[in-house]
């Protein structure tokens, strides 16, 4: 049974095509990560699923309902953690959770919510006094107060420091273990790797790859072998393939070899080095990270955007 079924989804703003013939499904209980640069169409897609945006074309079914007219019934069964949303800072955490909970047919108690998102100590504090990370946890708490069958998380940890991100991941994993289906967008690859059962990579409004993080990584068969090249040694003498690249830093030269036959290349290079009496330092053999795969699929970052992963 699919929690979400999307086929041929299209969204245009004038001449600008934000989402182009997008199709994917999310199974019940699955954590699905939508990955892509800013402007790839992730947020537009998630907002169409939430019922916040109208689509230009295609079929969308969320929990068996069409989000364009799912109305109250749909919003009762889903939880939404928006990228940009606020709460009244004049209220306390307790008042806020009670208030938002009151809109749902089934609702968690305040104690249960603050326990799940780790705001126990702040329950009677005004929202105005919360830190950015605590406000984001309150966002998450309000997303789950109505026992959602399906939770949308739009860039749940953007702007967090590493420690806060780890804590949020643990919290989200805790929620996932309750059996909730989760759809999250992110441009952090480690986040997708950490949280998602399956990942869809979007670029320019299209899905360019889909699978488990492991599948995506094994789809790219190259392995990178690297080591520090000894001074005044000709790479040819070490049988380094001509495709190798070199990086200079601090007077040392690092040799990088991308290969689909790591065993053979490694044996030849190591054999040549040891027979000539060279000791190689900084040897590493690295499988592609999701980031390597992602950059290959999604292409270069759009102009003017800071590195965020």
């Amino acid at each position: 049974m699919s929690a979400i079924r999307i086929s041929g989804l299209r969204k245009t703003y004038g001449d600008n095509v934000a989402v182009d013939d997008l199709s994917f499904e999310v199974a019940e209980g699955e954590v699905y990560g939508l990955l892509g640069h800013n402007g790839a169409g992730k947020s537009t897609t998630i907002e169409i699923m939430e019922g916040h945006r109208e689509r230009t074309g295609g079929e969308v079914s969320v929990l068996g309902l069409d989000p364009a007219d799912g109305g109250r019934e749909l919003r009762d069964r889903i939880g939404i953690v928006l990228q940009t949303s606020g709460t009244d800072v004049e209220l306390t955490v307790r008042e806020t959770i009670e208030l938002y909970g009151s809109a749902y047919r089934r609702r968690r108690t305040v104690d249960e919510v603050v326990d799940l998102v780790g705001l126990e100590e702040k329950v009677d504090a005004r929202v105005a006094s919360l830190s950015g990370g605590q406000k984001r946890r309150l966002d998450l708490g309000l997303g789950i107060v109505g026992y959602p069958e399906l939770l949308f998380l739009d860039e749940p940890t953007t702007g967090f420091d590493p420690a806060a991100r780890r804590r949020s991941w643990e919290m989200i994993q805790g929620l996932c273990s309750l059996g909730t289906t989760v759809v999250l967008t992110t441009h952090y690859l480690d986040e997708a790797e950490q949280l998602a059962d399956r990942v869809g990579v979007m670029a320019r409004g299209k899905m360019v790859a889909e699978g488990t993080p492991a599948e995506l990584m094994s789809a790219s068969p190259t392995t990178t072998i690297s080591f520090e090249l000894p001074h005044e040694v000709d790479p040819d003498a070490l049988l380094v393939p001509a495709t190798a690249t070199y990086e200079q830093s601090g007077g040392a030269t690092t040799c990088l070899i991308e290969t689909t036959e790591p065993t053979r290349v490694l044996a030849e290079v190591m054999g040549a080095a040891s027979s000539r009496g060279y000791e190689l330092t900084g040897i590493s053999v690295r499988r592609p990270s999701l980031e390597d795969v992602f950059l290959g699929l999604a292409g270069e970052r759009p102009e003017g955007e800071e590195a965020s992963a």
């Binding site: 947020s43 916040h52 919003r75 004049e90 938002y100």
Partner: protein, 274 residues
């Protein structure tokens, strides 16, 4: 599981908006404290004098109290909603509510309902102060008419406030529009100063084009010793109601859950989105 009842949801929304209002000192000051201060000031300055309206003299306090009660009600509805709704919209609060199963009319009802409650409290406060401290005379026979005009008036001004909130893109400009429309109108609508017989004719003419003057005049008539009970002026009530219906139509047409894309003015937790 059944839905929570509409009435309990609406009551909770009104309580919520009232609570936020009470905890916002600046809103409290401009909506309730400032008109009260003006009443005290006017009464101290002119309390024992008389004003002449349409050839009849009456104690100034009878005049000021009714006018300021009406003005407070307009502040609590029109000015208040045109301020508060766009701020909530820019803070993303409206969009968050739209993510919940709360029906839209109940959410809007919370805003409007709390404004109406506030208008009522403000008017009662003004008249209460007038009665207790300034010997304001309240004629029971005129109260049904006053209440009728009051209910029609605050509903109309609430609708107009929602219309401004929807039509003006940013919170700061919506607040400016609300003040820039209501304050000049107040001066030609008998709120602070009498624009009676000796006022320039154009002032009265312009004042009569807008709903504030008929609203204020009707409430003042309820405290005017020279106007016979029941003091119901159907033409004025109809005129204010008409403005209210126009406001309602505009409010429904232009209501928006999200800020206008071209610019926001207040702190909005905007992060690197697409």
């Amino acid at each position: 599981m059944s839905w929570p009842s509409t009435l309990s949801l609406l009551a909770r929304q009104i309580r919520y908006q009232m609570l936020v209002f009470w905890r916002t000192p600046v809103a409290l000051f401009f909506t309730l404290a400032l008109p009260l201060f003006i009443l005290l000031l006017m009464s101290a300055l002119f309390g024992d004098t008389t004003v002449t309206v349409n050839g009849s003299e009456w104690p100034a306090r009878q005049f000021f109290t009714g006018g300021l009660a009406a003005f407070t009600a307009v502040s609590a509805t029109y000015t208040n909603l045109a301020n508060v709704v766009p701020i909530r919209r820019e803070e993303g609060i409206l969009k968050r509510w739209r993510s919940t199963p709360l029906p839209t009319p109940i959410y809007i009802g919370g805003f409007v309902g709390s404004a109406l409650v506030l208008a009522f409290l403000g008017a009662v406060l003004m008249i209460g102060v007038g009665v207790v401290f300034y010997d304001l005379q309240v004629e029971a026979a005129k109260m049904p008419g006053a209440i009728l005009m009051f209910v029609v008036g605050v509903s109309a001004f609430a609708a107009l406030g929602m219309a401004v909130a929807g039509m003006v893109p940013t919170a700061s400009s919506a607040a400016a529009v609300a003040n820039a429309t209501i304050l000049p109108l107040a001066f030609i609508s008998n709120v602070f100063i009498v624009s009676g017989d000796d006022a320039p004719g154009w002032m009265t003419t312009v004042g009569n084009l807008f709903p504030l003057r008929p609203f204020v005049l009707s409430i003042q008539d309820s405290f005017n010793p020279f106007v016979e009970a029941p003091a119901i002026d159907w033409a004025r009530i109809g005129f204010v109601a008409l403005w209210g219906l126009v406001g309602l139509a505009l409010a429904v047409k232009f209501f928006s859950w999200e800020p206008h894309p071209s610019g926001t003015t207040t702190r909005r937790r905007r992060r690197s989105g697409d």
